[in-house]
Symmetry: C2
Subunit: 493 residues, 2 copies
């Protein structure tokens, strides 16, 4: 639909014709639409509209201010994050810590109170890292050395405790791998693809380099490589390696795959430029049978549209080598904080709102998939879903995965969020866990977009710990999420 108000009004018997012109042409002629309205009504409407809009705007900005004041002064997100990171810790799907996190999530949401709090069962993967992984330079030009490199097995990769020793083929990228495919057999491939520092948005560098983590092992195994190591997907100034999910192509051998910290990657690269380097890789990764996990869900029942759902969530699982503080402890406590703040404000939503701690995002996306599957089975109507899974940094705005018309509506709320830092809107966005919902129902979705300059410094690394989350930055994320949920609930989408 693309109407333009055509600047023609004709007065006749105290009636106005307002002529709309449709931009499409039928038989090469514009289509006209007329609205007839009495002059009195028109004047009333014209006079009343700005007043209604302003009053509404004042009411909304006052309510959002109330939410913000309460969250910034009394918010529990930071204390809850402490509990989740320090008392539970890293909580990879299938681990005992993950089971503990489910209990914690349920008890915490029970404590805040909702119309119901429940667990939604779903099968989750169960990969275990094992103990004693190591990557060592054992030879330089046939001279024996023993230089330990800081390495982490990639998630889902297999090692089973065997040691693989071979010469290194160091490549910049897949193009170089293809050129040198005849050299690969029996070797260990080292992908040193850089995380481009010149991108102002570091997520773009992650997008480009992610393929080496995800598919590097099988791309090298295809030519007979016996293991791969990759340069971690980061620009951090420390030497922490960054894990994250990889996937094997079942056609090729499932060879060990590990990530190196940047200082060690630089060192290895330098050595390989002038010498034959022998590497020894010992990994213990194992894929166990799927196990039972849970989405943890709190629900506020809608007063007007109880059968229409708004979802807000983050994922409860994290990698095992850190505390999952930003990824995605922040999203978990954001979600709980939005529930707390709406309850504290005595807000009774029109639509039913679900606060979901998704079971498994990192290595399987099983939580979000189950949530969409159950919703589809019940033929539920989902009008909006919001995720926080980009860290607990100062919020900048939201990325919306919505229709153009919905985006126009969303833009009318921009000025209400701007004072809280969340006014940078982008048409495009969402979140991994709410992706299945969007694909199932074409549900409009959005993702919180915090300032992300620091995110990939700690992402999937040991340094993703509570101490690297700032209280005010974390709480401001919840402020903007609560405000957006309120607006969507009040005005629909």
């Amino acid at each position: 639909m693309n109407f333009m108000l055509y600047a023609s009004q004709q007065r006749s018997n105290n009636y106005f014709f307002i002529r709309f012109i449709h931009s499409s042409l039928v038989n090469n002629q514009h289509q006209y639409f007329y609205i007839f309205i009495s002059m009195k009504k028109l004047l009333f409407l014209l006079a009343a509209l700005p007043i209604i809009a302003t009053a509404q705007n004042n009411e909304d900005s006052a309510f959002i201010k109330r939410l913000s004041d309460d969250i910034l002064a009394n918010g529990k997100a930071y204390d809850l994050l402490y509990q989740l990171t320090k008392n539970v810790g890293g909580r990879l799907a299938g681990s005992p810590q993950f089971a503990q996190a489910v209990k914690w999530g349920k008890a915490t949401m029970d404590g805040i109170g909702a119309d119901k709090v429940y667990l939604q069962e779903c099968m989750i993967p169960h990969w275990v890292r094992g103990k004693g992984d190591k990557v060592t330079i054992t030879g330089i030009n046939n001279r024996p050395v023993n230089i330990a490199l800081d390495a982490l097995a990639l998630g889902n990769s297999l090692g089973n405790g065997k040691t693989v020793t071979a010469d290194v083929i160091a490549v910049k990228d897949f193009a170089e791998l293809e050129k040198r495919k005849d050299e690969i057999k029996g070797k260990i491939v080292f992908y040193n693809y850089p995380f481009n520092p010149t991108y102002v948005v570091p997520g773009r560098a992650y997008g480009e380099s992610g393929i080496y983590r995800h598919s590097g092992a099988s791309r090298a195994a295809k030519y007979g490589a016996v293991a791969v190591v990759i340069r971690s997907l980061t620009e951090a100034t420390d030497n922490n390696p960054h894990t994250g999910a990889m996937q094997y192509d079942s056609v090729y051998a499932k060879i060990p795959a590990a990530a190196l910290g940047l200082k060690d990657a630089d060192r290895l690269w330098k050595e390989t430029q002038s010498s034959v380097v022998k590497l020894s890789v010992t990994m213990h990764g194992k894929q166990l049978s799927d196990t039972i996990g849970y989405n943890v869900i709190a629900e506020l029942k809608g007063s007007t549209f109880p059968d229409e759902f708004i979802t807000v969530g983050g994922h409860l699982d994290s990698w095992d080598v850190n505390e999952g503080a930003h990824d995605d402890g922040a999203g978990v406590v954001h979600t709980i904080e939005v529930l707390r703040a709406l309850q504290a404000a005595g807000y009774h939503p029109k639509h039913s709102i679900r606060f979901v701690l998704f079971a498994n995002e990192e290595n399987g996306l099983r939580g979000g998939s189950k949530y969409a599957e159950v919703a589809k089975g019940k033929n539920e109507k989902h009008i909006f879903a919001l995720e926080s899974d980009e860290g607990g940094f100062t919020p900048r705005g939201f990325g919306f995965g919505v229709s153009p018309a919905q985006y126009q509506k969303v833009l009318t709320w921009q000025s209400l969020l701007k004072p809280y830092g969340g006014g940078d809107f982008a048409n495009g966005g969402g979140g991994a866990d709410i992706g299945p919902l969007a694909r199932t129902f074409k549900t409009p979705v959005a993702g919180l977009t915090p300032d992300n300059q620091r995110y990939f410094d700690i992402h999937h690394a040991r340094s993703d710990v509570f101490e690297n989350v700032n209280k005010r930055e974390l709480l401001l994320g919840a402020v903007n999420m609560a405000a957006l949920i309120y607006l969507v609930d009040k005005y629909g989408l």
Copy 2:
């Protein structure tokens, strides 16, 4: 001036009249202004204007992209900050470390190269903290206790090693102090004024609470208090006390003044609500004679307007209890990075550009004052000054202290900075060190405004160290500053 293009054009003999209507009324009639222009010229102008504007815009955005790519990939600001914070450290005016910082600044700018690098002498204050300061709760309801509180003497405060012991009068604010003025004599006043957490911009809370640090001692001494302690100006979750400048009113006794960390402030407040609390304050602060310091200045000579100056700077001094990493190590290395990047790009400025590491901001503003004084003495023309003194966090934009007409011009550059994060412009801003210049010449000024949610967590506290600065965030600040300096130099203001 408030012209509106009036939508009336009349064609006559191939001439267009473009009628402007002035919004002011003279004798109740609108004032009209006409521009006569040949149709040919008009068409040419109309056609050429967007092309000129677009070409200019493309050239500018390409050059700014070059600056950004170079700074993000090859920038030295982070390494330089390491040197300044770790090799020099805290560098209070008058201290040996400050003298070392001057040498470092001069050598560093010499190393980068400029048309000249020189020192500008100025007298600077010389306050010394001394050693062994302590604040201890020594009695609760006449029961002797020994509870050490984490405290830091306020800058410029005097103690001379004497111990003052007295009961505490805890007040929320000056209003309560005034109400209880008859109780103050012989007591230690504790100001527990909170750093308002509900302000989205924490600088607003700093603005409100700063008066207790600055004037709290004399306001209490007026009524006979023997010492004051204040709640630190922060919302940090740790217990670090935050120092910063105070000033005595010469009419009243110069009593010791110290800041408490937040956990200890909360503890002391709680105790005083139900008990008589005796506090023992031992401070060693001394004010020595002024000494010689230097502004460190590098200069690029202007090709077109060598006698018109643009200044970019930060302050070299810091407090003594930390490394002055964000305050204002960041501003110092931002300044040097802008010089480096413009040189690396082979940029020859039209105006002369001065890169200034100001000698003393924290406890005297002597560096900026001397710079303006010398400029006035030489009758220099200063067209713009830019300061970075709000930390090395992700840049959000600039605050401009400029005329309305200049601000309109500045706004035309907003879209060029937006891709680098610096597009949030505010009409209002500047910096302490360039304040004297602005007051002397009405020089238009601006200050870099980084994301400031974390700033007051570390501001003037032990935690303002290199480890709390992020490389990308720091470099992006320099990108935006370099871009703004380029635009001002190219287009003037």
